[in-house]
């Protein structure tokens, strides 16, 4: 009995699947959609680049500046108090 029910259920599912998949799928959106989609992607990409600039790159630049400043300080310290000179 259960097998019989399962068989009927499966045949109905197959029939409905066939009908749904045979529907005319030729509807298409307007031509402008493509440019709109890629403009949006460009905008998001630009924002991501700016975010990266102000986080990763800005962080790197900041580190370089600190490095340069500290090197400058080290030089002045080392000339002022070079142990070999004394």
């Amino acid at each position: 009995m259960k097998d019989h029910l399962k068989e009927h259920s499966e045949s109905l599912r197959q029939h409905l699947t066939r009908q749904f998949q045979s529907r005319d799928q030729k509807k298409a959106p307007s031509e402008e959609l493509k440019s709109q989609v890629f403009q949006s992607i460009d905008r998001i990409q630009l924002l991501a680049d700016m975010f990266e600039l102000f986080t990763v790159d800005f962080g790197n630049i900041e580190l370089k500046m600190i490095d340069t400043i500290s090197k400058g300080n080290d030089t002045s310290v080392s000339t002022d108090a070079d142990p070999d000179e004394t």
């Binding site: 029910l5 009927h8 045949s11 109905l12 009908q19 749904f20 998949q21 509807k27 493509k34 989609v37």
Partner: protein, 198 residues
Amino acid sequence: MVFVKNRSLTFQSLSDQELIHLILGESDRNHCRLMQEELYERYVDKVYFKCISIVKDAHLAQDLTHDILVKVLIRLLDFKSTSPFYGWVSAIAYNSCMTLLKQRSRHRTLDLDSADTDVTEESIENENSELREMQLDQLEKIMEELNEKDRLILLMRYQDDMSVVEIGQILELGDSAVKMRLKRSRDRLAELFKSLGV
């Protein structure tokens, strides 16, 4: 150079997975764009058809298609190459349609989260056995009459051949709730079929 000249042809012969792999590894933005365009062309009509089948409004369907394709192309890193790409795109499309329907239902106070009742798929599908007689033109008419949430779940089940589990994952529902919702939608499909007087 030859590769660049025949680029579009080269891309057409690639599978979705191969194309995505190339996009993710491409550092040249122009090349990346060409490959994204190829993916766009492959899926735009399918996504639009899904959206218009659910919302029945060309303008809204176009807006939804825009959002879905932007999401798909931006989030390619999230795609797990072990599953078919079309399934992933469909899940994003149905999720976006679902979100829209939920937003609308808040205004219309429609119940999208109905009661969870334990039912078996076999017993349910047999209740609507008259649907075996339904023809394609009749289905098209009935789809116009059905409400959005019925169309959504029927499309998932029968057009995309999704399992109850897959539907449940997208709708964030348990198996029984999905089966019950499918039953109700099929009941309405059967009612409308009977009302055609065939």
